[in-house]
């Protein structure tokens, strides 16, 4: 199996789906000759031509609005918004149309589109290039919100997203794009949208995370095992909406302790919903208060200070140890 970065794995998913189905169209800013500013669409323009890999004028509303029209017709547009920081221009097309066309047309039209966009910090970028605003999309009825955590699941989830009959927002962590490689099978692989995964098994503490933050979470879990003899179970959500609350509530029933780790601001962030589900479904199993390790409720600072904003292994460990100490 080839060892791929997340960029290469996403590229593979697009290429293979385009080969299989001529309804799949890639569009966005700089996705053609340039191959996308992160090279996720590299060489697709050369292989499939300008009718299937469309360099659009610079207008996010138009990219998304046009994708909706294409999807209503029966195509499967996969549009790229260059940075999630510029997806607010197209916010209204998603909220007012993509997410509710099925409902508005009483089932006559679906919008099987995917909006791919890089999110999150950690790559020393300029303003508007580092935010994590997944909560916006997770809050919208009618949408699916997917955030992979590595090359292999990114590829499999993107294939599923393209084939999904409903609109999917697909967040790609910039910090993971080239962070590591994984074996990704050449042959087709899909993963169900709306299902989370156990990334590491353990009986002492449940750590719930997704996207870029699964890495420091896994690292913290290893250190806890090594130095503290604490076995944490790590749940990688993979989909934020619809949220799979079975896996993490079952885990908490076993461990009695839960912490949630995300890069997005704390207030009204995904952690708030996860916490609510924990309270609803596993309240009587909770031995200590649930903890959230998240970004602060401020604009993520320019990159000189971003490492103090984004949850670090150290910060995760500190909270985990506090929770374990609370047990003594």
């Amino acid at each position: 199996m080839p060892k791929l970065t997340m960029v290469q794995a996403l590229n593979m998913a697009l290429k293979q789906e385009m080969e299989k189905d001529d309804a799949v169209i890639v569009l966005g800013e700089d996705v053609g000759l340039d191959g996308g500013v992160f090279r996720v669409t590299d060489q697709l323009y050369q292989q499939f031509g300008e009718n299937r890999v469309v360099d659009t004028p610079l207008a996010e509303t138009a990219i998304v609005g046009m994708s909706i029209g294409m999807a209503i017709y029966g195509l499967k547009p996969v549009c790229e918004i260059q940075f999630s920081g510029f997806s607010y221009q197209n916010f209204h097309q998603i909220e007012n149309h993509a997410s509710r066309m099925r409902w508005r047309s009483q089932g006559r039209f679906g919008v099987p589109m995917v909006l791919r966009t890089p999110y999150g910090g950690g790559v020393r970028a300029l303003e508007h290039h580092s935010e994590s605003r997944e909560a916006f999309w997770s809050h919208m009825p009618g949408l699916k919100m997917v955030i992979p955590s590595g090359p292999r699941n990114a590829r499999a989830l993107l294939v599923s997203a393209i084939r999904d009959p409903d609109p999917v927002i697909f967040y790609e962590a910039k910090a993971l794009y080239r962070a590591f490689r994984e074996e990704v099978p050449e042959e087709e692989e899909t993963m169900p949208i709306g299902k989370s995964q156990i990334a590491r098994e353990g009986n002492d503490l449940t750590m719930i995370s997704y996207g870029a933050m699964t890495r420091p979470t896994m690292e913290a879990a290893s250190e806890l095992a090594e130095k503290d003899g604490v076995e944490a179970e790590v749940v990688d959500l993979l989909t934020l909406s619809p949220l799979d609350d079975d896996l993490f509530t079952e885990s908490v029933k076993k461990t009695g302790k839960a912490m949630i780790i995300h890069e997005a601001p704390m207030s009204y962030g995904p952690g708030a919903e996860i916490l609510a589900r924990l309270v609803e479904k596993s309240f009587y199993y909770l031995e200590v208060p649930v903890e959230r390790v998240t970004g602060f409720d401020i604009i993520i600072p320019l990159f000189n200070r971003e490492n103090h904003y984004i949850p670090s292994v150290k910060r995760i460990l500190r909270t985990a140890r506090k929770m374990m100490d609370g047990m003594k």
Partner: protein, 365 residues
Amino acid sequence: MPRSKIDIPCHVDYLSILDETGTVDKELEPDISDDFLLDIYKAMVLGRRFDERMLNLQRQGRIGTFPPITGQEAAQLGTVAHLRQSDWFVPSFREMVAEIWRGRAMETFLLYYSGYNEGVDIAEDQNNLPLSVPVGSQTLHAVGLAWAVRYRKKDDVAMTWFGDGATSEGDFHEAMNFAGVFRLPVIFVCQNNQWAISVPLSKQTRSKTLAQKALAYGFPGIQVDGNDVLAVYTAAKEAVERARAGDGPTMIECVTYRMMMHTTADDPKRYRSDEEVEGWRKKDPITRFEKYLIDKNLLEPKKIESVDQEVKEQIQQAVDKAEKLMKELGDPLDMFNHAYAQLPPHLEVQKAYLAKELAETMEKE
């Protein structure tokens, strides 16, 4: 008659005064004082050299990503040169030399591109907005500022800069329409540098010019040789006078070229040819202006050298200052500054959390 022609203004002027060989059209030559010509020249050289220095620093890993301006000095200075201090300066992200003209301290660019929030530093007496990254979005703010200026019965203007790519954004069109409808004192300066990252102008619009978009919104648009500082200056002068007199907005399309990469994270070899770039090198805005000033006896080789020296010293001072500031700044707790006029209680709690974490780390080290 069921079908007739509606008479609409259907042309835009193209203005060029100083051609690429440095030959001036005497009839169109603007009346600018010698001192002011030299000020503009020095600023152009400063912009060019500072760009080169920043690229150097970036390549050494001493600053992060930034968008170079090389080639666009005339478009920026020929326009900004008309603003009074009380006028409103509404830039996008590629107006480094215009920002310096407006009084932004040079070291703040280095801080900003090194990831310090303190790299934005706007003096109380400057009506300068901070640079704006979301393409085209700032044009609407210029419209609002101009509306407020008129409401307060002032004769200030708002000038906003944006690229060719920005003319595809809805925000730009909405700004143009509002400015037209309300007849506001706004000057829309389009730096048409032919590229929006990898997308050439031909993929951005089917229009022959960008300036003609103004006609649809009911006000004048003019296209100028954007590498000809005299032409840019002349067009901007007319536009600013019209705006101050209450005669509404103007759009100026400066035809220029992005000589460098989009930002230092970009590799233009993927999408454009070296020949194209070399072709534009011959149209350099500084070379031709230098020739013009030499012909006017305002410059000679020695003076050119002394300007260069002066500019280099200025740049070195800025670099030194920035490096010193970087040692003093950077307290992580300052990330909570300016979140709100007054920090709400939950942020006090979050700030204290970070302070505690930092203190613990200090103890361990």
